[in-house]
Symmetry: C2
């Protein structure tokens, strides 16, 4: 397998975690989101993914896009370390937690959106920071409420083993820290992230541990 | 089952399509996104979904959120009319197409984001419209490229029966039409949407057919 990745891409980070949790290896192909005006925007990468977004996983002739779909694919083909619970209700809960991040937090704050706000709407650095903190804060507060009040939450987002939800949570919190968000507001999320980060798979997947880290 | 819905909510529309395709009925509980400052923002709805977003599906004691997770849940419990292919590669493709809409188009243009742009960043109606068209245009162009060039595309997004991807595509195109986007740029998407809309399940799920339509 080949993973097209960038060390700081939250979405690529999710897939790296899943690969490491499952003990799978993929050749890492770095795609620099800032150099050369953004390597992901070039023709070569566009031929692989017309969305011009990371990550892309190549498995033989298959070209897979969308991090959550990729993790589900890995989970179906390599079920030994499951990243989704066995029951439908549990799977719905884990998917919902993952999508609350992957749909409702991350896409509002990724590079292309922040660029548009700066270049087209000429927002100030303060407005950009307020935008970021607003959507991250709204999303994380809702997650904190859900996870803190639900008996299905364990050492991790769902029970006592990491799932797809944790694969999404840790990169989002990493990103929030980088933008200076106050994570003390979310004690349950911080507790779960600490449990995750203590695992070798999460440690190996973190941005600083990647070959393309700068 | 009970579906908390709003006739124009794209995400609720996805779940309505899935329910109708599977021949399932759910009591529709309207949540008006504009009246009373937004009923979804109230305490009562927040107790159900701390994200304050539609849709919510109640199945007995289970409270399910995130439209894509809800459709996957319905598909697992009621597999007679499958909304995902049987093979892992096909499922990854359908999920990726669905998430390209559910993560990368819809969340940038939903009500709460457009409100923030107006109220906090004081954008003009022209800037709001340009923002909408930019993200819809970027997302739909990439989908058009993917679907037009892939042999796995059939009468519908994946083969000749509707899937989760079609459940997401039709509401997004409905929304794009409402905002005056030029869909002639996306002939494959228009062809697939027409095939979907010819089916009674899609017709029954459309906003105008809902009891809360105005």
């Amino acid at each position: 397998m080949k993973l097209h990745t960038y060390f700081r891409s939250s979405a690529a980070y999710r897939v790296r975690i899943a690969l490491h949790l499952k003990g799978l290896t993929a050749e890492q192909i770095p795609v620099h989101l800032l150099n050369h005006g953004g390597e992901q925007l070039g023709e070569a990468f566009g031929a692989l993914n017309p969305q011009h977004l990371l990550p892309v996983l190549e498995d033989g002739d298959l070209v897979l896009t969308q991090s959550v779909a990729i993790v589900e694919y890995l989970d179906e083909l390599h079920p030994a370390v499951p990243l989704l619970p066995l029951d439908a209700a549990g799977r719905a809960r884990v998917r919902s937690l993952a999508l609350a991040i992957a749909c409702d937090i991350h896409p509002l704050n990724n590079l292309r959106v922040l660029k548009y706000l700066e270049k087209e709407l000429h927002i100030t650095p303060e407005q950009k920071s307020a935008w970021y903190r607003h959507w991250v804060g709204t999303g994380l507060a809702a997650l904190e409420t859900r996870l803190a009040q639900d008996a299905a939450t364990g050492a991790f987002c769902h029970g006592d083993a990491p799932t797809l939800a944790d694969c999404c949570l840790v990169p989002q919190l990493y990103n929030a820290r980088r933008f200076g968000c106050d994570l003390a507001l979310y004690p349950t999320l911080e507790r779960i992230a600490a449990a995750c980060e203590a695992l070798p798979a999460f440690a190996a997947a973190r941005p600083e541990a990647q070959a393309d880290a700068q």
